[in-house]
């Protein structure tokens, strides 16, 4: 067995090659970590946004889009009286009539951006207990309450969405009355308005959905039964968690594109690295042949090359991990229905290390081909 120090010292024989290997490996690892963090972040926010205890009653046939759904406003009262198992506090049942509406919002400086609006009553706080008012007050007529990440979704400065700020929606001036948080969910990228205001702005006579919160998620059956027994109301009952699960499936092509893009760039980096390594090992053919001649087996030499390659690639993985922690961790990324946060979780970090190890093994292919494949007499005479 060749000493480990042999592999370690060889790393520094060509500083430019080492730099290229580490750089290429860091790029590939960073891409893999980014793609995984994006996938993970989007899945996490959509999974956290839907509660299994919440049931959405929306218009039959609009199960895939709340915004298209139309539900008569009287449904909330009927549901409240007819469905057993709804969560209740101080004699009030957790049933919230909502309008979900997407439109452009304008700021004083002329900035125009697409925002997700939700028309609500104070009942919404009962069915979405994760929502916490951080600053200001629940909106009354002419006001809106912005999620703490709404500014990020809109692509404006945080100061533009502070309490007291003014925005324009469909020509109507709206004052930001409060900022709310709903950690880890898409809700905190939304802007909430009083239901009546949004009904007028959206020119709707119906609401988008009725959301109700159950004491026990198993009571979904009761809500579903209600929907099937009241065909005149044209309703479909959907667990909120299932709705966001559907959205997650809807965004799957986007996530696949992320992987394909990362894969293509990484493939370029890998092939470039392989090419460089193949050429760079030319001067060491005779050295390897000499080591074979004095008794070291090909397997021993191959193992030493694996050590060398893995060390270089793991150094790249380390560099990429530091870059990921500094550049990616905690960053919020906007997408069509909200924002999600990139997190370098243990899974993402482990994937980075595994990619580094994998690259180390791929990286050993060129030196193996270049140095160990030729027959010994030929290799000894190679220049």
């Amino acid at each position: 067995m060749l000493p480990f120090s042999y592999a370690a010292r060889n790393l520094f024989r060509s500083k430019s090659r080492l730099f290229q290997t580490i750089g290429g490996s860091a790029l590939v690892v960073l891409l893999v970590m980014s793609a995984l963090a994006i996938n993970d972040g989007m899945n996490r926010v959509l999974a956290a946004s839907g509660s299994p205890e919440n049931v959405i009653l929306l218009g039959a046939g609009s199960e895939e889009s709340i915004q298209r759904s139309e539900v008569p406003e009287r449904v909330a009262g009927i549901v409240e009286a007819a469905v057993p198992g709804i969560s209740e506090a101080l004699g009030v049942r957790a049933v919230s009539s909502e309008i979900h509406y997407m439109n452009y919002l304008s700021l004083d400086d002329g900035t125009r951006a697409q925002a997700m609006f939700r028309g609500v009553t104070p009942q919404a706080l009962r069915v979405h207990p994760q929502v916490r008012l951080m600053e200001g007050a629940f909106p009354s007529s002419g006001q809106a309450m912005a999620g703490r990440l709404a500014w990020r979704k809109l692509g404006v400065s945080e100061a533009a969405m502070k309490v007291g700020g003014k925005v324009l929606l469909d020509g109507q001036e709206i004052i930001i009355s409060g900022i709310f948080a709903a950690p880890g969910t898409v809700l905190e990228s939304e802007i909430w308005l009083p239901l009546g205001d949004l009904r007028v702005i959206a020119k709707r006579e119906t609401i988008s959905c009725v959301v109700l919160r159950l004491d026990d998620a198993a009571d979904f059956t009761e809500v579903d039964l209600f929907a099937k027994q009241r065909l005149d109301l044209e309703l479909a009952a959907l667990r909120e968690s299932d709705y966001y699960g559907q959205l997650s499936a809807f965004f799957k092509p986007l996530r696949i594109m992320t992987w394909i893009t990362a894969g293509l760039i990484a493939a370029g980096a890998v092939f470039g690295g392989l090419n460089t390594l193949y050429a760079a090992f030319a001067p060491r053919v005779r050295e390897m042949a000499a080591l074979q001649a004095i008794g070291f087996s090909r397997r021993t030499l191959w193992f030493s090359l694996v050590q060398e390659s893995t060390m270089a690639c793991l150094a790249g993985a380390l560099l990429a991990s530091v870059a990921a922690l500094v550049l990616l961790d905690g960053r919020t990324v906007p997408f069509s229905i909200g924002t999600f946060t990139l997190e370098i979780t243990p899974l993402v970090a482990a994937a980075g290390i595994l990619t580094g190890v994998g690259l180390g093994w791929i990286g050993v292919i060129p030196p193996t081909v270049r140095c160990l494949m030729p027959p010994l007499p030929t290799a000894l005479r190679m220049s």
Binding site: A60, G61, E63, T221, D224, L225, K228, Q229, R230, L231, D232, E234, A236, I256, W259, G263, L264, A267, V270, F271, L274, I365, V369, M373
Partner: protein, 177 residues
């Protein structure tokens, strides 16, 4: 050798990442039907079957009625753990896959029909116990009751029914082959 490396690497990227899950058969109810349900399933409907759309205006709660139709009209016509389903009128509603060139994956939702036709052409069929409440057992998969199955149902129009809402408490049910 270079070619081999390129081929191996390419195959890694070209491997399909969207392998289709194996199709699972429709959920069957493994539990034995209760006596109340068994009674309804073993009773042959009587009377001339009427269409849902044609009869709904004339029916009142308490009327005896025999309807024929297909289980359709909504994306999920059954309720898990409850003896109820949505019956659709085939004279008014058409499963989407029966339209030429339509390969809809959920033809029983009759998504090609208008909401007005769906409202007019559907009825809730439920099986209730002696206490008047819907039996707490699912129907899907029992005795051939499945999405798009054609069946005949006899029963009594339930309280609360009106021309906009037709609910039938089934006393006899037969799936037509």
């Amino acid at each position: 050798m270079k070619t081999t490396i390129i081929l191996i690497a390419s195959s890694v990227f070209l491997v399909s990442c969207n392998a289709k899950k194996a199709e699972t058969p429709p959920a069957a109810n493994p539990a034995k039907p209760s006596a109340a349900l068994e009674k309804v399933l073993s009773t042959v409907p009587t009377g001339t079957p009427r269409s849902i759309a044609a009869s709904r205006d004339s029916l009142k709660p308490g009327d005896e009625v025999t309807l024929s139709g297909r289980i359709m009209g909504t994306k999920s016509p059954f309720v898990d753990g409850r003896a109820v389903f949505v019956l659709g009128d085939p004279e008014l509603l058409t499963p989407c896959n029966e339209n030429p060139g339509d390969n809809c994956e959920t033809p029983w939702d009759t998504c090609c029909d208008s909401p007005e036709d769906k409202k007019k052409g559907t009825a809730s069929i439920q099986i209730v116990g002696e206490d008047g409440r819907v039996l707490k057992e699912g129907l899907e998969g029992i005795a051939g009751i499945e999405k798009l199955a054609t069946l005949t149902v006899s029963g009594k129009v339930a309280d609360g029914s009106n021309p906009d809402l037709l609910i039938v408490n089934a006393t006899a049910l037969q799936v037509r082959k």
